[in-house]
Each structure stands twice: as C-alpha cells, then as structure tokens.
C-alpha cells in the first residue's frame, strides 16, 4: 500500500505543479513507482510541465465516470521508468468529481504505486476538497511573500481540520541575496508563523523556467541549484535525514556549484 501525498498551497503560482513534478520524478529516479495525479480539473498543467500533453487520451474524469479503465488513462513517462501521470480533464470543471470518488481513485492507485502525488488546484473550494480527500500526507508550498504565507497558514488550518495533521512545508523561490538585504521574508520568520516542519527550501532558479517550458523536470538536471534542493526534499520524503543546503553562506555561486558537484560525486 503506497502513500498518497497532496501538494497544496492555497495561493496560485507558488509552484505546486513544479513541486509535484519534481518530487514525483525524483522519487521515480530513486527507484520508486510513482503516479502523478493532476487534480486541477479544467486548468490542467501537470501534463505540460512533464512534457506529456500530446499523449493524453483519457483523463481523471473519464476514470471516475467509468468511461475507461484506470490503466488506460495512466500515461507512462517517456524518460523515467516507474513514473506515470493521470491527467486532469480540461473541458470539465471541479464539480465533475466529488471527494468520495477521489478517495476511491487514490486508494486504487495506492494499491499499485509506492507514491501517489496529487497536484492540488489553488483555492479552498471544491477542487481543494477533492484533492485532499484521499491524502494521508500533505506538502504545503509557499513563497517568501506575505500573501503566500497567509494563504499557506489558512490551508494548514483547513488540512488540520480535515484530519491531515503535521503537513510539511516547502519554501519555494527564495532569493538569498534579497533575504540578506532584508528585502525578502526570511526562512525563520515563515517557520515562526506557520509552525510546521520544514521539508525543504528551493532557491529561485532561472533553470526552472527553462525546464518547465521544455517539459523536463529540473530535478533531473545535475547543474540546477533548485534541482539539488528537490533531490534533498525527495530523500527527506523517503525518510532520510538530510542536512539543509547552506544557502546563507557568503560564498559565490561558483564555489557553491563546485561544492554541489563534490556532493553529487560522493553520492
């Protein structure tokens, strides 16, 4: 029986889909069987980020309505073994499924896969309720902005209210030089407010934009700083105790890059 992990945030555009794609890919690179579920019905993009949009025949709503078998709707990733995607429907909306159906769907998937990663839509309405229905674990993504942290706080409250205790936090798109200047919220301030366990901190990285547009998750890119952060997150999800990357150091990007390669060599 696998684990169902929902990736959520409340606010839109903080990197839920990117995080889902990268964690999912990372887990499959670690030899786990993974299925990514896009719960953002009507506004799907997980397929685009994964570069699999051309292969969609059936979607989540088809499965729920019984128009196809679950296996038929799963898209096997073109690069990574053991990685599958269950895409969202684009022509329907969030009300096309209900939480009970999602619960059944995710538990069916959890029978076959080690990890079921659910990409939650923004907001706290029906789509959110659907996405968290079958989850046993939650990852909350936020960026170092007051509005995103506020929404994350609301989401954590709602998750706790529906029995998803101890969600874990991913702080996305942090710019260390801005934090140092005091122009951006720092990590301690955010953890102080949200009071949940930190799963990882992903630095702002231009590479993410490139990889998203190409449909190749950044985690597979050894040179990407964000990719390194996601690799650490994946290991923490699997229960490893990984120290946090030293983003606060005064060393330049080059030194950090060298260190990073040193780190990957040792692995």
């Amino acid at each position: 029986m696998g684990e169902v992990i929902v990736v959520t945030s409340g606010k839109g555009g903080v990197g839920k889909t990117t995080t889902t794609a990268n964690i999912g890919t990372g887990l499959s690179l670690k030899g786990k069987s993974v299925v990514l579920v896009d719960a953002d019905i009507g506004l799907r993009n997980l397929d685009v980020v994964m570069g699999l949009e051309n292969r969609i025949v059936y979607d989540l709503v088809d499965v729920v309505e019984g128009s196809c078998r679950l296996r038929q709707a799963l898209i096997k990733d073109k690069r990574f073994a053991n990685l599958y995607l269950l895409p969202a429907a684009q022509t329907k909306d969030k009300n096309a499924v209900n939480p009970e159906q999602m619960q059944k769907l995710t538990s069916d998937l959890a029978e076959e896969f080690d990890y079921v990663m659910v990409d939650c839509p923004a907001g706290i309405e029906q789509g959110f309720k659907n996405a968290i229905a079958g989850a046993s674990r939650a990852v909350v993504v936020t960026t170092p902005e007051v509005s995103a942290v506020r929404d994350a706080d609301r989401i954590i409250g709602l998750l706790e209210a529906s029995g998803l205790r101890n969600p874990q936090l991913v702080i996305n798109r942090i710019k260390i030089d801005m934090v140092k200047r005091g122009d951006m919220m720092n990590i301690d301030d955010m953890i102080d407010i949200l009071a949940i366990d930190l799963l990882g901190v992903v630095p702002d990285d231009d590479m993410i934009v490139v990889s998203t547009n190409r449909g190749e998750p950044a985690i597979a890119n050894e040179a990407s700083l964000a990719g390194q952060a996601y690799r650490n997150i994946v290991r923490r999800i699997m229960g490893e105790d990984v120290p946090f990357m030293n983003l606060e150091s005064d060393e330049g990007f080059l030194t950090r890059l060298v260190k990073m390669f040193g780190f990957t060599k040792r692995r």
């Binding site: 506020r150 929404d151 706080d153 609301r154 954590i156 409250g157 709602l158 102080d192 407010i193 009071a195």
Partner: protein, 228 residues
C-alpha cells in the same frame, strides 16, 4: 449557616479600585439602612485611611435618587471623602458584576487590586488565518494567533505566544477587559467598541510581553511588567 451569613454580610460594602478610581460596590439584596450600617462599620475604624479618598461612584445596587444623595452625603460629610460621580452615571449591576460580587468572599482574601474571576476557554493550538474563536468568557491561547485569525471574548484574552491576528476583548462592552500576549504584533485590537490598528509603518520588533487595555477611552499597549 451563620458562618455563611456572616461572609455574605461582610460583603455588603466593597471598595473596588479601577483605572478611574475607587468604586463602592453595594450588595444588591440589602436595604439601604443596612448598607449605611455596614459602610459605617467598614470606614469608621480606618477613617483616617479613607479620608480624602476619591470615590468615582456606587455600583451593584439599584438606588433611588434620594438614597443616592443620602449615601453620597454620608460619604462626603461624615467620612471626608470626595465623590465625583453623579446619579445619572450610576451603572447598575450587570450579570458579570453580580457574579463577581458573590465571589468577593474569596477574592477579598487576596491582597491584590486587580483580581477577577470568570470562566475561561483554554485552546492549545496555533490559531490560523480564517479561524474564529468566539467565547462568552475569557480566552487563553497556548500558542500563536496568526494574521487573519480572529479571537472574540466577552472577557479578556491571554495569548501565550504571538498575537498577530485580530483580538476583540469585552465584546459586550466591557472596557475593563484586556489583551495580553508574549508578543503583541496584531492586525487589530478591539476592546468593547474601541478599535485600534497596527501602524502602517513597520513597527519595531518588541519582544517583551505586553498588555493592551483601555485608558481614557483609548487602547494603550504597554509592558505589564514595566520594571523588567
């Protein structure tokens, strides 16, 4: 039985210090003649102590204008205190006061000025954005109150953590209610119908415990242990 009766009558007249000054709380059930008696018993032995004291008003018992004038006269002429209130400002016992009054037997044994008794809701959690805690008594939060969270209490609010949301104490108009937190950095504080909000500029980080209370019709936030 006699013991109980003694305690009850002992509370016929109670002096209560507030921010505005002293109030004389009269037991509601007793006759004015009995009250006069108790007043005398209470003040006579320590007349010099009471002399010159400033009395704001009576509280607790419903008085007629004649009774009010009579008692006021006694206080000013016989005991040499100054009485600043008028009959129109007289406030009669609310439920809150009455409960407090019947407890003064216990509370009076405590040698402190600000002692209150009431029910409290104790919450051990982080109160997050979008969550509302509304209670008809005092509220104690063991944890933080985050921005966007709303705490409403008929009594006072005590936060054993950071107060960053909206706190509304004394929702039914009790200006003696207060808000205490280890760190007060709220969006808004309300006591009774008085509202104050955080300054728009980024305020300096104060890490001392503070109390918010009503002073001269305004909410004032200050350290409650000023000597620390």
């Amino acid at each position: 039985m006699t013991g109980k009766g003694y305690i009850m009558n002992d509370n016929a007249v109670v002096f209560k210090g507030t921010k505005e000054g002293l109030y004389i709380i009269l037991k509601e059930e007793l006759d004015v003649s009995v009250i006069k008696n108790h007043l005398d018993k209470k003040i006579r032995p320590s007349k010099r102590f009471f002399e010159g004291a400033k009395i704001v008003n009576f509280k607790g018992k419903r008085l007629s204008r004649e009774e009010f004038d009579e008692l006021k006269g006694i206080i000013e002429q016989d005991y040499g205190m100054t009485f600043t209130g008028s009959y129109n400002e007289l406030s009669f016992a609310s439920k809150h006061d009455r409960e407090e009054h019947s407890d003064t037997g216990i509370l009076e044994q405590l040698p402190y000025e600000h002692v209150q008794k009431g029910e409290a809701l104790v919450v051990r959690a982080t109160v997050r954005s979008g969550q509302l805690i509304d209670y008809k008594g005092n509220i104690v939060i063991i944890g933080d109150v985050n921005p966007g969270a709303h705490i409403k209490a008929a009594g006072s609010i005590i936060v054993m953590g950071s107060m960053r949301g909206i706190a509304h104490a004394g929702v039914n108009g009790d200006y003696s209610a207060f808000i205490v937190a280890f760190k007060i950095q709220p969006m808004q504080l309300r006591i009774g119908d008085i509202i104050t909000r955080a300054p728009d500029s980024i305020s300096p980080k104060i890490s001392n415990p503070e109390i918010a209370l009503v002073k001269q019709g305004m909410i004032v936030v200050e350290p409650y242990l000023p000597n620390k």
